[in-house]
Symmetry: C2
Subunit: 196 residues, 2 copies
DNA sequence: AGCGTAATAGACAAGTTTGACTAACCTACT
DNA sequence: AGTAGGTTAGTCAAACTTGTCTATTACGCT
């Protein structure tokens, strides 16, 4: 759990601090932690004994803010979690896979255009990172943050090549059916017609 | 929504059929659709007028099964959704990113080992796909399914190179601090000590 | 024929996530 | 001096997800 790590690093912190840090990392995008879930998570972690409330102060008559810190048990748990994420591979969940599995529902020309567009977007993203690393905000960030972005770049490069290759295949009119069944009834093409 | 697409393709279907198809695609891994959510999704889509109940038959005294098909409105919506996924890029959510942002919490030797291990696992996965494509189950599947797996392979190749490069950097003892602050107090290393 | 296992179909409570909302305070500008 | 707009801090109901449970039938095996 991301939030546990943040508390360990920033402690003592209150929810709003965590929220700001997460947003500044754009973590709402690549982790699944929306600001709304933070407070629930903090309370749940406290309940489990991984965090501990330190103080609850109130300035003027604003909402009270509760400050948390990590417990030894919480450190242990965090250690285990991190180790898990470092050593085990969780298959990535990507909505584009869902789209891809319905490729036959799209007119071929559109699929080709979309794939080329995707390649272009990926290239633009990669260029953006490169610029940021050389003269932008990335220079101010620790090395491992730069490495994170470079990991995206590395994956994207693979994907760009793939997009172009597959765009070519789709364009060439190659059948979607498995090799064995090339002669069989192309039911999918009919499905496409209905969709349109 | 994945499920809408499946219904459109397999209609008329009942929940259990959808579930089997999803499991056979391993979609519980890369989409976020666990078997438990299917029935709720079907009911919700029906309520929104994107699906329509066809029949509710009962064989013997088993649980009744309700069959669904897609409505014209549902087809429109599906079209829009698919188009969205094809043309817009949603940043991928990957728990490894979370792990990576806490790199300084790990002893350097362990990070290096974990990175090399990750590269090895990725290589193994890629080899597995290659074998499946040449003589395994992948040959029976439609081309775009093979392309899906090849997309994973392409991304993985980028990631393998990255793992090895970063492993080298971490091993070399390069500082995690940003260039500008190399002389400043290495607070993170201290944080690591506490973790340990 | 009898018995254990697997498949069929879905319900459901408990837990999580989310976006929208509140409400006070600051601050910069007219 | 007033006020529009942002920041601070967190609450909350509604929606969604999940794993687990139930109960029946089909199938294979001795």
């Amino acid at each position: 759990m991301m939030i546990l790590g943040l508390v360990s690093w920033m402690q003592p912190v209150h929810g709003y601090d965590v929220r700001r840090e997460l947003l500044s990392w754009n973590a709402d995008k690549w982790a699944n932690v929306q600001p709304g879930s933070i407070y629930h998570a903090l309370r749940k972690l406290t309940e489990e004994g991984l965090l501990r409330e330190v103080t609850t102060e109130q300035v003027g008559s604003r909402p009270a803010r509760t400050t948390y810190e990590i417990t030894p048990k919480g450190q242990d748990e965090l250690d285990n979690l991190l180790r898990g994420y470092w050593w085990e591979m969780k298959p990535v969940t990507d909505p584009f896979f869902a789209a891809l599995s319905f490729l036959p529902a799209l007119p071929r020309e559109e699929a080709v255009a979309a794939l080329r567009n995707r390649a272009a977007q990926l290239r633009a993203a990669n260029d953006g990172v490169e610029v940021a690393a050389e003269k932008g905000w990335l220079r101010e960030k620790p090395s491992h943050v730069r490495w994170m972005w470079e990991l995206m770049v590395a994956r994207n490069e693979g994907e760009i090549a793939w997009c172009e290759r597959v765009a070519g295949l789709v364009e060439s009119g190659v059948s979607y059916l498995p090799d064995r069944m090339r002669t069989a009834d192309p039911g999918w093409e009919r499905w496409r017609e209905q969709v349109d």
